[in-house]
Amino acid sequence: MNNKKLIALVALPLFLMISGCDGFLNREPIVGETEENFYKTADDAIVAVNAAYAALQFERNPAGHFRWFWGDIMSDDSDKGGSGDNDVFELLLLETFQTPLNGELLDSEWKASYEGIYRANVVLENVPPIEMDEALKSRILGEARFIRSYFFYNLVTIFGGVPLADRVLSPEEYDLPRSSAEEVWALIESDLVQAAQDLPMKSEYAASDLGRITKGAAQALLVKAYVYQEKWQDAKSTAEAIVNSGEYFLDPDFTQIFTPAGENGPGSIFEIQFMTESGGTWDNPNEGSLTNVFQRARGQFAGFGFNIPTQNLVDAFFMEDPNNEDPRLKSTLFREGEPMGDRGIFTKDATGFPHDYYAKKYFNSLSEEASFGDPVNNGGSNDRVIRFADILLLHAEASYHSGNEAAARSSLNMVRERARAGETGVLPDVTASGQALLDAIYHERRVELALEGHRFFDLVRTGRASTALGSLGYVEGRHNLFPIPQSQIQATNGAITQNPGY
């Protein structure tokens, strides 16, 4: 064989290879799409906003934040529970106000919130240029604005002023400093005002869109934002807009609200949707909730036994009449001897723990669990974030502060009337006025919304926290806000500063 030919034989493919290098090394993802090639169609816009909804379900991974950790356990309504003091020890430190600065739980709350905000921002930046039906587009932008303000609402009530990530941040902007609480509230207000304009009413959505954010939800969150800022007139008028829309009414049967049948019921304004879907794992329960397993009793009831109701809470249900319990108590918690759904009778032996009560609102029966995968973790209970009763009670509070006691009593008594469930001799209409009326409204909030993640924030907002929680270690001016996670102060090289008192 001629050497020249041989060399040519070798050199030619070598040459071809070199020239073909770039093509060979250019690999686009097989599964998934690069961002540049995405956000082109209406369908892309819908899945983009769906991903922002998915952030509402974050409970553990990529980060965890149970609303009841902050709203209930931190308050006088419930204790941590678990397998012992050292089971999520951080929670024990938090609820006894020995607040750790570098806790995992606060860090998770912060992280999950900003991931939700990022996803909403992705929608708000990438959807507007898409050529699509304008009505659908403005609905999607409205949904994204609501989700962004919902996470900012969580952040501002837990931490106070936070970095105002109102856009997808570039790497240079990652260490954005904190804005004031007022600036955060301003963004929440403007987002929600816009969203309330853009979003359809509950009845205007197709059935298949059940669970999407409605105009009512945006208004309801706006009511809360006003109440926090003590903009009583705005709160009152916005709440009235919800009432007058005719979209919501109180489910006559209180006991139904927290059952599967009660999900997205007539009084539901904003619920985070969860389902007992197959195939979840501990770190990724997919569309399932971990609240169910966390709150169920241990032992035979296959739960982790967290959020143990206090005697103080139980006593609140006997406050009006020591001989007649508030009918809502039986829907709020389990007492010894009662059946825990189809899981058996609640005895201390069966739970293996000496607790007298267990939370009931997010209890799920064995028959409600997913049939496959990691059913222990895949709870199906929707998180009832804003109920109509909540708005009515905020309306009562706003009316009271606006000097309209009659309107306050009217809303308050609507809630009480439903709670009576036709019984006589309990929960008579409130006729009080002045401070007694305000106290009645506060009391009603506690029992109506018990173990739904409101109590701690209500106590702080209304200045009653040091009275109610002082014996647990609460110090006004310090514990009304949680500390900024130390990790985030470090990660931004101090650009983010700590809250006073920590």
Partner: protein, 1025 residues
């Protein structure tokens, strides 16, 4: 004497006519091998400097007769594998027995380096060699074990003692957090994992440790390169048929001392009372209990291990072949057949010389294995963790024979014996590694080699979760939820990993004026890798028998079915060149340059350039060198850089993934959502490791003693690392080139061999010192946390600047509070802190014990590691001892799940504090542990140093005289023991704990109920026909 004189005389007479004409005289003798005293057949005997090429070969009994020209002469005896011998003769006669010694100089050993071979004496980099004969006497279960303790600079540790589990191999320290495994190359083909390879098929393992040696592999050579060559046939060698087999029994070598039932009840009773709670009634009278259940006895068992290997190899003038088949089966000491690893391999290596310029060949290996996987090294699910934590009161079975459940445990700690029985997790893997090559010789010195290879793995994972219920009354479900499963599930996952590689290498060799030896090489590689994973699952099988677990048998609804699919690919193009120059065997120079382009980097920084230089000076070749016992002395130095792209695919581009779903609608329909959850970094580039190495090779007493030592500094820069970013970003952190790590170390190895006496022996040893330090984690880089310990709900390890990788980080204990005055005098720890609790040091003296009082409390990486071998041979008997150990490392003992108050504990708790002066080490017991005595602290840090008698074996070679009659060439029988003794202070089951999570450099040295290595006794036979 007389007889031999007579024979010589007769021979002389017989040869006389020849001698007369050619003026020669005759010398006779018999050539024997010093190794076994057997005749050397076919040894060449030549007369030195003889233009007439006079000479002969020995015959079947090793005898020879050679004509020598009149006068003094030198006879040269040579034979492959034996050292050439010179014998001076001056006249006719019988030389009697000539002993030929094996090639004793390690320096002449052929060493495989990147894209070629060379003699050890010519190497200017740092390369370790392990030959088949070093490992063939010892049954090794996995290829990585052949490396452990055999060579300096390489640390190997078990990730688990379970059959078929991976080992961690670190060459010269942990250089990266992106998977520190070396690059494995089998017959020129890069492969992932070595579980498919039968150790019997290995001819040699060469480890390229310094950057200059590895630089020819440029990319991915950063963690060192392990070159494995499989056995080939030899030309002109009659067929060799060899069988090797062994059978053994493995058993646990150690048990932990835990409380028995009586002691458990005493401790529990006290712990409840200390917390002000009422203990369960039965604990009030501990004496009513006996020993209770020993859960370790319940799960440990003696497990068989067996291997059969048959190989046939040989070659003609033009071709060689080697075929082999191997069967290997190992059960687990925990789980028995539920932890079984069973492997079948078949191999064909062949080469053929087509004509005088063309060679072709192929190496094909096929492996089929099944591995039954048991949950291991998990603090949540492993049977071992459960056995060590389960209370001793619960029996294994109830009176009716069904499995019992614990009345005290709920989550995590379930009946481990039942769990093993319910585990059905089988991995089946089929893997073909095949390459074809051709070698074209253009002219003397210039040749071209091209090879094409495919490495294809098809694997299945079959899982079945059966229905069970350990309740006494199943209608009441009285058992804890973990002991009840009311629906069965079948899961199937399929994997395919396909890699192909095309490689071309042009080599030119030329020696000028005898002293200038020159070699140059240029080549390129293109490589593509594709992974494909799919899976499905369903529920509700009518049969609870794992044999019937097929998805289509399921009766579950469509909603309960799941399916998933994933695929990813990457490609690599490389160009490389090397030039070697050697002057008079004295001065050695080598330089390489490799350019790699990887699809894992964006267009901005796709290519990396990796140069290297090395030089060697053979001082002993200099004229001035004359130091008597030193026969060889070489000084070498090298510098080079390597790359690492072990970061997964597509990190340079922002990818929108589906699967961020939500449930809408009355029927809760899962609705798709999509978003990019990770920020991209379009500018990422190759991670680079630069290494400088200085080494010395010394040989004394003509090869009896060989010593090699190296010092190196290895710097990793631009380490690919997704440094945490502020959460405000809302995405996972992008991969960036930011961190740096430094490893420096010193290595030493020595071998002394004596082969000339009746008692032949060799003694070898090596040790390595390595210091690892993270030098930078980027601007404001937070420490990287790892090693989550559930019982403390915290991470035990962190990687931070100025510290070794994954150092243990926690509180420092300072004895036990003996009385209330001491509690009050000390910094505030906790509301409930009381006498008997641990006093933690207030490191920052601020009067409060909090997170700021934590510090570095241990290092999981050994300060030094060592190995030693002793081999003795006497009259057919051989004895081999192999020791291996590490020193200066710590283990975090995270076995006990202190977050549960019902778990069993080590007997050390019996020496707990019960009153002033009773203990300053072991705290009081209290089910609430208000002081958090179980937080991450040095209480759980133990010295992980160990020395292990890894292998001891005694063999006997049946004498050839006996074997000849049955046409057997060699027959050796042996008995051996592995892990016979382990000397350690560590209190857990096994101190040798590697990275617990595969390819995760940061999960180091944490015992969460580690699956220990077995002590094995076995007997084997090796026959060659």
């Amino acid at each position: 004497m007389r007889i031999s004189t007579l024979i010589t005389g007769l021979t002389l007479v017989f040869l006389l006519p020849v001698g007369l004409f050619s003026q020669t005289y005759t010398v006779t003798g018999i050539v024997l091998s010093s190794e076994d005293g057997e005749p050397v057949i076919g040894a060449t005997i030549e007369v030195k400097d003889n233009p007439d090429n006079l000479g002969t070969v020995t015959d079947f009994d090793g005898s020879f007769s050679v004509g020598v020209p009149d006068g003094d002469a030198v006879l040269l005896f040579s034979y492959v594998g034996l050292k050439t011998l010179e014998v001076e003769v001056s006249g006719p006669g019988d030389l009697g027995t000539i002993n030929m010694f094996p090639e004793s100089s390690l320096l002449e050993e052929v060493v495989v380096v990147g894209y070629g071979t060379t003699e050890r004496s010519k190497i200017s980099g740092s390369v370790s060699v392990i030959k088949a004969e070093d490992i063939s006497e010892t049954p090794i279960l996995r290829t990585e074990q052949a490396i452990q303790g055999r060579t300096s600079g390489v640390t190997v540790s078990q990730n688990s003692g379970s059959p078929g589990s991976e080992l961690t191999v670190r060459i010269r320290g942990t250089g990266t957090i992106n998977g520190g495994d070396p690059l494995y190359i089998v017959d020129g083909v890069p492969v992932s994992g070595l579980d498919f390879l039968s150790p019997n098929d290995i001819e040699s393992i060469n480890i390229l440790k310094d950057a200059a040696s590895a630089a020819i592999y440029g990319s991915r050579g950063a963690n060192g390169v392990v070159l494995i060559t499989t056995k080939k046939g030899k030309k002109n060698q009659g067929g060799i048929i060899a069988y090797e087999g062994y059978f053994g029994v493995q058993s646990p070598s150690k048990k932990m001392h835990l409380l028995n039932a009586r002691e458990y009840a005493i401790i529990q009773n006290e712990a409840y009372l200390a917390a002000g709670e009422t203990p369960p009634a039965e604990f009030m009278n501990p004496l009513a209990f006996g020993e209770g259940t020993d859960w370790q006895d319940a799960i440990f068992e003696d497990a068989p291990i067996t291997s059969h290997n048959l190989s046939i190899s040989g070659g003609s003038e033009k071709s060689t072949y080697a075929v082999s088949g191997n069967y290997f089966k190992q059960d687990g000491i925990v789980g028995g057949p539920k932890a079984r690893f069973e492997r079948y391999t078949a191999r064909l290596n062949g080469a053929n010389q087509v004509n005088d310029w063309l060679d072709i060949g192929t190496n094909i290996g096929f492996t089929h294995f099944t591995r039954n996987a048991l949950a291991e090294n998990s603090q949540y699910t492993s049977p071992l963790m459960r056995a060590l934590n389960m209370d001793p009161i619960t029996p294994v079975r109830k009176f009716d024979g069904t499995y019992a459940y614990s009345l005290y445990a709920d989550t995590d700690v379930a009946n481990p014996v039942h769990q093993i029985e319910q585990t059905n997790d089988e991995w089946t893997s089929n893997r073909v590694l095949a390459n074809v090559f051709t070698n074209i010789k253009f002219m003397e010195g210039l040749s071209f080699r091209t090879s094409y290879s495919v490495d294809a793995t098809f694997a299945n994972q079959d899982l079945f979760f059966p229905i069970f219920n350990l309740s006494v009354d199943t209608s009441l479900n009285d058992a804890p939820s973990i002991e009840i499963s009311d629906e069965n599930t079948v899961v199937l996952n399929r994997y395919s990993w396909i890699n192909w590689q095309l490689e071309n290498v042009l080599t030119y060799e030329k020696t000028f004026k005898e002293k200038h030896k020159f070699e140059a090489l240029a080549g390129n590689t293109i490589l593509e890798n594709r992974q494909h994973v799919s899976g499905g699952a369903n529920t509700g099988l009518p049969s609870n028998n794992p044999e019937d677990a097929y998805i289509s048998n399921a009766t579950g609804t469509i909603d309960s079915q799941t399916a998933s699919e994933w695929a990813t690919e990457s490609s690599l193009i490389s160009f490389f060149t090397r030039a070697n120059y050697e002057y008079d065997n004295k001065y050695l120079f080598s330089t390489t340059l490799r350019v790699d382009g990887s699809s894992r980097f964006g267009a901005n920084n796709r290519f990396g350039v990796f140069p290297s230089f090395s030089a060697g000076w053979v001082i002993s070749q200099e004229d001035f060198f004359d130091i008597a016992p030193i026969s060889f002395l070489k000084l070498r130095a090298s510098w080079g850089s390597n790359g690492n792209n072990n970061i997964g695919d597509y990190a340079f581009s922002t990818i929108v993934f589906q699967g961020q779903n939500y449930a809408f609608g009355p029927a809760e329909d899962i609705t798709n959502g999509a978003v990019a959850t990770t920020a991209a970094n379009p500018d990422i580039k190759w991670e680079t490791i630069t290494q400088t190495d200085i080494g010395l090779d010394v040989e004394l007493w003509d090869g009896k003693l060989n010593v090699t030592t190296d010092y190196y500094i290895k710097n990793t820069r631009d380490m690919l690392y997704a440094a945490p970013i502020p959460h405000t970003a809302g995405t996972a952190a992008p991969v960036q080139n930011i961190a740096t790590i430094r490893n420096n170390g010193w290595e030493f190895s020595a071998t002394y061999r004596e082969r000339a006496t009746a008692l032949k022996y060799s003694v070898g040893g090596n040790f390595s010192v390595v210091k690892n330090e993270v030098t930078n984690l980027g601007l404001g880089g937070d420490p990287v946390l790892s090693g989550f310990i559930q019982s403390a709900n915290a991470f035990a390890s962190q990687t931070d600047v100025g510290q070794p990788v994954a150092s243990f980080f926690g509180y420092v204990t300072d004895g036990i509070f003996q009385n209330q005055a001491e509690v009050e005098a000390h910094a505030f720890q906790n509301e409930g802190t009381a006498p008997g609790d641990i006093r933690f040091a207030d490191l920052n003296n601020d009067g409060v014990i909090d997170e700021l009082d934590r510090t570095y409390i241990g290092n999981p990486t050994p300060r030094f590691s060592y190995g030693a071998t002793i081999d003795l041979e006497y009259k057919g008997f051989d004895l081999g001892i192999f020791l291996q150990g590490v020193s200066g490392n710590d283990v975090y003992n995270g076995i006990v799940r202190y977050d549960f108050n019902y778990v069993n504990r080590p007997v050390s708790v019996l020496d707990r504090w019960t009153g002033e002066g009773t203990s300053d080490i072991e705290p009081r017991v209290n089910i609430k542990d208000p002081n958090q005595n179980s937080r991450i602290s040095d209480r759980f840090i133990e010295d992980g140093s160990y020395m292990r008698v890894k292998n001891v074996q005694l063999g006997y070679n049946v004498p050839k005289k006996i074997l000849e009659t049955v046409r057997i060439k060699k027959l050796r029988v042996y008995i051996a023991s592995q892990n016979l003794f382990t000397f350690t202070k560590y209190s857990g089951l096994d101190p040798e704990i590697g990275t617990i999570v595969r390819d995760n450099s940061l999960e180091l040295g944490i015992d969460r109920g580690f699956y220990p290595q077995a002590r094995t006794f076995l007997g084997g036979i090796q026959v060659t026909f």
